[in-house]
């Protein structure tokens, strides 16, 4: 299989994630979409790694996963804290820091 397919799938997932990021207002959904985008990137990296037969890409993918896990842990923590404070959670309402 040529690398084009892999990249196409990766781009598709990335776009789905980005579209969700822009349209969804619930923080949980935004986090899910971010996850999609990260994994789209992972897919592309691993595909390139296979193509070149090198191991660095795999390592990178693992690093990204670890970062993603950490980010989700913090993100979910924030979401839960927000939920406790103000029941209805909407990313558009969280703009106290605007200029």
């Amino acid at each position: 299989m040529s690398i084009g397919w892999f990249l196409a799938v990766s781009a598709l997932i990335f776009i789905i994630g980005a579209a969700g990021l822009l349209t969804r207002r619930h923080p949980l959904m935004i986090l899910l979409c971010l996850e999609l985008m990260l994994n789209a990137g992972n897919l592309a990296i691993v595909a390139f790694a296979r193509m070149h037969g090198a191991a660095e890409g795999h390592v990178f993918a693992l690093v990204v996963m670890v970062v993603a896990a950490a980010e989700v842990a913090i993100g979910l923590g924030i979401v839960v804290a927000l939920y406790r404070n103000r029941v209805a959670v909407d990313a558009d309402e969280l703009r106290e820091l605007h200029g």
Binding site: A18, L21, L94
Partner: protein, 680 residues
């Protein structure tokens, strides 16, 4: 021990005392701080005597002027500034006077300040003052002289404002400091001008170079020397309270009485006299500066004498008397009668310090009241203080055989011997002596003679008068007795042993101080000073006739002055005649003159109108225009306005919408992607 080693020790002791007292702070209990302060100064006096002995052991021919340097402080442009002291008869005499009188005044303060909350602070300041003064007199170059000079001014400021919650005291301290700084500026400029021509700051090197540098005709540097000396003399005039920089001294009486005694009578105010005497090789080369100094001294002694006639504040009368006596000294050392000037400085330190101590005793008996109008008839209540006042008064008026007689007459005789224009100085000097006798004895008659006032009566009955509430003697404002104000207790010198010892010691010195210089008979001070310090310079010895005639005239004038004072203020009230009839009669007959004297010749008003008010107006004008418009509105307002405006623009972008930010981010990413795609 070499004289230089002992001299360095003299300098180090008060400094050590200051540090010890200051670091101890509130940890000092009871009289501990006072004992430590007094002990260090007493030890410094012992070392001063050792220095004198060490110097006397040396060869009289050129061996008695020793410079000693610890290290080089700075070296640049060919000028070496060393940590250097100069030990010679002049500085040793000053050492002895300063440490000797200081020891007694520390002893006096030990009891006098006993009830004050800031007791350790007082002694820390006092020791710091002594250190500064010793640094000033021991300095071997202009650099250290200026340092000591400025330290002395700072110490004086701290001590005048010692009762820092009294607004009058802090105002007086600021006034003294500002006027002294005017003098400091003159001193620094003068020293720099000399440095420019001689290329050295060292005293001995300057003197050695002076003849070649300045005396050469046609080089134009003779004028520079005169200017430099006049600048240095501005420093001397400010420190020694000479016209027109004298107004701070009377206000400085706001400080505690021991401070007035030590700083504003015996030591600091004589620094100007010392400076001119120290610079005598230069003064001899600049006759103009000599004339200016002598005339200023003469004017000061006359003006201060007339003011002293009319003041009613006991301490201020003595303060004006100090100004007047320093006028004599400045006149003497400027005109070239160096030995006589230094002699008068020494005797004056004795009797004036004692007069202030006795005044402190009176003020304590009056519970802080200083007005002569309220004092009356203390003769029986305080015989010891009365005795001190009489001895001081006789010495000040110049009645033989008290010390002031010899020193004052030596000044006037030296000038009469020179003749010429100096006769003006002689006649003015005798007029001043007449005034001195009158105002001194006016004070004594008014405070001690006549029927006792209530306070004196209390004391006679064995009780010490306590005012119902504490008031500021200058303004009558109510005060408490906490820290920053005078303490609650009064200590009369009669009753406290340390104060009796201090006053007694000075009384003896004031009585026999004349032994330091009886013309033709006994002149130890002159013999000691002449060779290395003044050499052949200065006025010549007057003839025997002038000396004898001068002494007779001086005695007559002093006695006449005392008699006049007795007639006006001392005679008991008789039937149909008030005791103050004569003085009030004179006041009515010459109202203008009286107003002139009471208002101190309007010098304060003059300085206010010519300097303070224009400066204040200028300040206000620039505050309203330049500062408010250019600095405030333009520079500061412009900068903040620009930043604020620019940030208002940028701030709009910070919407706070998370999705907005991510949209921008993605759009940017897409743009980069498109760019690279278009490139490939």
């Amino acid at each position: 021990m070499s004289p230089t080693f002992t001299a360095w020790t003299v300098l180090a002791l008060p400094l050590a005392g200051t540090i010890l007292l200051a670091l101890g702070g509130r940890g000092w209990r009871g009289v501990g701080a006072g004992i430590v302060g007094t002990a260090t100064i007493a030890l410094a006096f012992v070392f001063s005597v050792l220095t004198l002995i060490g110097l006397l052991d040396r060869d009289a021919e050129g061996g008695r002027q020793i410079a000693s340097s610890l290290w080089t402080y700075a070296s640049s442009g060919g000028v070496e500034v060393r940590m250097e002291i100069l030990v010679d008869p002049l500085s040793v005499i000053m050492l002895l006077v300063v440490t000797g009188v200081s020891t007694l005044i520390h002893l006096y303060s030990l009891a006098y300040m006993r009830g004050d909350e800031g007791y350790p602070r007082f002694f820390a300041y006092l020791n710091f003052f002594v250190f500064s003064m010793l640094l000033l007199v021991l300095a071997g170059n202009f650099f250290l002289l200026i340092a000591g000079w400025a330290f002395v001014g700072a110490a004086s400021y701290m001590l005048i404002s010692y009762w820092y919650r009294r607004t009058t005291a802090t105002a007086a301290g600021i006034k003294a400091f500002v006027i002294n700084v005017v003098g400091d500026v003159g001193l620094v400029l003068g020293a720099i001008l000399l440095l420019r021509h001689t290329g050295t700051v060292d005293f001995l090197e300057t003197f050695a170079a002076a003849e070649d540098t300045f005396a050469g005709s046609g080089s134009g540097s003779e004028g520079s020397l005169t200017v430099a000396l006049l600048l240095l003399m501005i420093g001397a005039f400010a420190k020694s309270a000479q016209l027109p920089l004298h107004t701070w001294l009377a206000d400085a009486m706001e400080g505690p009485t021991p401070v007035s005694s030590l700083i504003h009578a015996a030591t600091m105010v004589t620094a100007g006299v010392y400076l001119i005497a120290r610079l005598n090789p230069l003064m001899e080369l600049a006759p103009t500066a000599q004339v200016v100094g002598a005339v200023i001294g003469l004017l000061t002694l006359l003006v201060a004498g007339t003011i002293g006639l009319t003041q009613t504040d006991l301490k201020r009368v003595i303060a004006y008397s100090t100004m007047s006596q320093i006028g004599y000294m400045i006149m003497a050392v400027s005109a070239g009668a160096y030995v006589a000037g230094m002699f008068h400085l020494t005797t004056h330190a004795f009797f004036k310090a004692m007069l202030f101590m006795a005044a402190g005793s009176l003020i304590a008996a009056m519970a802080g009241e200083q007005s002569l109008d309220r004092m009356r008839g203390f003769r029986k209540a305080m015989p010891f203080t009365y005795g001190a006042f009489v001895i001081g008064g006789l010495a000040l008026a110049g009645v033989p055989p008290f010390s002031g007689f010899f020193s004052k007459d030596e000044i006037l005789a030296a000038m009469a011997g020179e003749g010429g224009w100096m006769w003006i100085l002689v006649i003015g000097g005798y007029l001043g002596a007449f005034l001195t006798a009158i105002y001194t004895w006016r004070m004594i008659f008014r405070a001690f003679w006549g029927p006792p006032c209530p306070e004196a009566q209390e004391l006679e009955d064995g009780r010490l008068y306590h005012a119902p509430d504490h008031r500021n003697p200058a303004t009558g404002e109510l005060e408490d007795t906490h820290v920053g104000f005078p303490g609650p207790e009064h200590h009369i010198a009669e009753r406290a042993l340390p104060m009796r010892i201090a006053m007694g010691g000075l009384a003896v010195l004031a009585s026999v101080g004349g032994l330091l210089g009886i013309p033709k008979v006994l002149t130890p001070m002159e013999d000691f000073l002449l060779d290395p310090v003044f050499a052949e310079r200065g006025l010549h010895h007057p003839s025997d006739t002038i000396i004898v005639v001068g002494m007779v005239v001086g005695t007559l004038i002093a006695v006449a002055g005392i008699y006049v004072a007795y007639v006006i203020w001392g005679r008991p009230a008789q039937e149909g005649r008030e005791s103050t009839a004569i003085s009030s009669g004179w006041q009515e007959r010459f109202p203008r003159l009286h107003r002139l004297f009471v208002n101190k010749w309007w010098f304060d008003e003059l300085i206010h109108a010519t300097i303070v008010a224009p400066a204040r107006w200028l300040g206000r004008f620039f505050h309203d225009t330049f500062d408010r418009l250019v600095v405030g509105a333009g520079l500061v307002g412009g900068t903040t306005g620009t930043v604020r405006g620019a940030s208002a623009l940028v701030r709009r972008m910070q919407s706070g919408y998370l999705r907005g930010y991510s949209a921008v981010l993605l759009a940017g990413l897409a743009a980069v992607l498109v760019y690279f795609l278009a490139q490939s």
